[in-house]
Amino acid sequence: MYSFDPTEEQQMLIDAVNKFAVNDLRSAAHEAEEGRVLPKKLINKGWELGLLQASIPETYGGFGERSAVTGVLALEEMAFGDLAGTLAVTTPSLFAMPILIAGTEDQKQAYLSKIIEGEWVPFTAALIEYAFDFDPNELKTTATLEGKDYILNGEKAFVPFANEAEMILVYANLGGQTQAFILPKGAAGLTVSDEREKLMGLNALPMYRVKFDGVKVPVSNRLGGVQGMDFEQVLASMRIAAASAAVGVANAAFEYSKDYAKEREVFGVKVAQKQAIAFMLAEMRTEIEATRLLTWEAAWKIDRGREDASNDAYLAYTGAMDMVMMVTDRAVQILGGHGYIREHPVEMWMRNGRGFAAFTGLAIV
């Protein structure tokens, strides 16, 4: 059967996340972006919604089970508030979800409950590398087996909260395959840059470069143990997460510019009454819906363990990348000169919108 109705619980979650996104994240977003800081209180409030906690089974200290569909519904809604805030709140998922998806029983026992037992604590992950041809399946950071340890060498970029992270999940190239390794804070040979990343957007989110210079990781800290893990699964979950966040950002821009166009007068009518503007809005709404449905379907396939889930996730992400750029660009255009002024959020959404092409690995469901 086809069906497009979220369950009652999902709807309750969406409503709760929406409240937080609009009342808390959105209202703090401008100041956070300008001041380059997200209040911990804000992050904790988002954390208390329990998105990650609800994805983790009771045996590991949580109170639910993983659902990619629920994940994308919630993430879209939160990103509707603010992207930087959303990525901060969900940073611990970058560490926890791959363990839940692909970790050994021991790894799940060892880490999951620790991450979710109390307040938000920065557990993070490092996937992105500083190269124009960055490809998650062909990493330049390497892992090599030497005796009982893996040795990591290379450099990662855009690692959220690396400076204060309790632990980092590091993705590296092991004989041509992307595998992940669990690293504690302060491991020998691991250095976090002093300076934060300077990016076009996401200024509120503290992100760092991380260097690995012969860092030793015991075999037991390889994600999935000696057999390792199927990275495709993890990557697919990252891609639909990015896609759903893109839908949230696009929807924010759409709603804002729509409301603006209904207020703004030009030549004696509301600007929304001009077809040139109204048609843009119609197309924005249509393309948002298109990507949302692609994302839902890919998430549903992930939950069902379908073989083509990974390809669908790739297509959803590919579509989302273009869609969010198109929508946020038009939102700025609809506000005219005012759209270019930082007092309105649309220019920030447009800056964030372009980032999705580089954001694989900053969110996961």
Partner: protein, 421 residues
């Protein structure tokens, strides 16, 4: 039901069967009928009619129960009538969208009777599609001076109180299947056309009504069959009505003019149901073109490396992947719109969005495929160039791309037709 994307069994079964029909009955004849415009594909029509009868009736005329009314209300399974039709049309249009239009059954004409007619009218006019001979019905709104702005129609219906008949005068154009629905052919059952006319021009939209005009009615004539860019096997008729007399009870909706436009709106709701179906046909053509392109690429040893970051892809890979994205999302939008129809959720917005999307996608994809295939794409030895010509109609009929954008925009802005013209 929670969010799900599992195609129901009847849909996958229909897709399987119709793939064979497309391969055996449609594709081999596509080129012939493209080059012999105005010939009628009798073999196909007769085959489809008997096949559909064998399967339990005319598949594409909405039947009682098939869209959630009557019988399926007692049935616990959610209704999937419109979803099934959308899947069937997509599959048939993958075969040949022009030939799909030659599928016997009620088409848009029956859809109008179904949504605006009384139960008696439905019983009276719709039963014929399950008779022995293939039978057609068509919808006549458009006139030379009234296309997108269908409130500008000049066709008039006046009640002759003595005989209790409507007398209709006017000129309709671009009637899909108008010839097969109206002209009496020995191989066909008696069809009808649904003619839109005003019973009170001063009342504008509130005065517009649809009338069932039986095939062969005196005073009504097919005056022309258009020569078209594509979908050539589908007849597109001009029909003139001169003092055509129609029984009183053939009016769909109320015979008196209300001051509001509720009646008109109800009839227009036909389009909320049929727009995603037209969108489905566009998806079908586009899928045909894209699959053909992929076959040719495989033959030439060109691989599409799905999963690679965008900046590492070749141009062809990017184009193909973008087309996959477009096609997949257009189909999902169709499915969502018809799922809403099946579940009686108002879907004016989703219907029009699916039509906007499919109009864009079918034209873009078929254009790109011809481009990428170069001389092979442009050559009439292959069907790609035909699909390009066929696909363009998706963005024109049942509301042009612009009209559907207007519907979407009014919907999201909360505007009336006056606020946004």
């Amino acid at each position: 039901m929670p969010i799900e994307f599992e195609a129901p069994k009847p849909i996958t079964q229909a897709q399987f069967v119709l793939k064979t029909v497309a391969d055996e009955m449609m594709r081999p004849k596509s080129r012939y009928f493209d080059e012999h415009e105005h010939e009628i594909p009798w073999d196909y029509i007769e085959f489809m009619h008997s096949a559909m009868k064998a399967m339990g009736g005319s598949a594409l005329a909405p039947r009682e129960g098939s869209n959630g009314s009557e019988e399926s209300d007692n049935d616990k399974r959610p209704p999937i009538g419109y979803q099934l039709i959308a899947a069937q049309l997509e599959a048939l249009s993958w075969g040949d969208v022009g030939m799909y239009h030659c599928l016997p059954g009620g088409g848009l004409g029956a859809a109008a009777v179904y949504s605006a007619g009384t139960p008696e009218q439905r019983a009276k006019f719709l039963a014929r599609f399950n008779e022995d001979k293939p039978t057609f019905a068509a919808m006549c709104i458009t006139e030379a001076g009234a296309g997108s702005d269908n409130s500008a129609i000049r066709t008039r219906a006046v009640l002759d109180e003595k005989t209790n008949e409507w007398i209709i005068n006017g000129e309709k154009i671009f009637v899909t299947g108008g010839d097969k629905s109206f002209t009496e052919y020995e191989k066909l059952g008696k069809g009808f056309i649904v003619v839109w006319a005003s019973i009170d021009p001063a009342a504008k939209r509130a005065g517009m009504r649809a009338f069932v005009v039986e095939g062969g009615t005196p005073g009504v004539k097919v005056t022309k069959l258009e020569n078209k860019m594509g979908i050539r096997v589908s007849d597109t008729a001009a029909i003139s009505l001169v003092d055509a007399r129609v029984p009183f009870e053939n009016i769909l909706g109320s015979p008196t003019v209300e001051t509001n436009t509720a009646g008109f709106k109800k009839a227009m709701a036909t389009f909320d149901a049929t727009r995603p179906l037209v969108a489905a046909t566009g998806v079908g053509v586009a899928r045909a073109a894209l699959e053909f392109l992929k076959e040719k690429l495989v033959e030439k040893g060109v691989q599409i490396r799905y999963g690679l970051p965008r900046q590492k892809l070749t141009n062809i890979e990017r184009e193909v992947i973008d087309m996959d994205v477009m096609l997949k999302s257009a189909w999902l939008m169709v499915i969502k719109a018809v799922w809403m129809a099946d579940n009686k959720i108002p879907n004016a917005l989703e219907s029009s969005m699916s039509k906007v999307k499919a109009g864009d996608v079918s034209t873009k994809v078929t254009q790109k495929v011809v481009e990428i295939l170069g001389p092979l794409g442009y050559s009439r030895e292959f069907l790609a160039e035909k699909w390009f010509r066929d696909a363009k109609i998706t963005d024109i009929y049942e509301g042009t791309g612009q009209i559907n954008r207007l519907v979407v925009a009014r919907n999201i802005l909360g505007y009336s037709g006056k606020d946004l013209r």
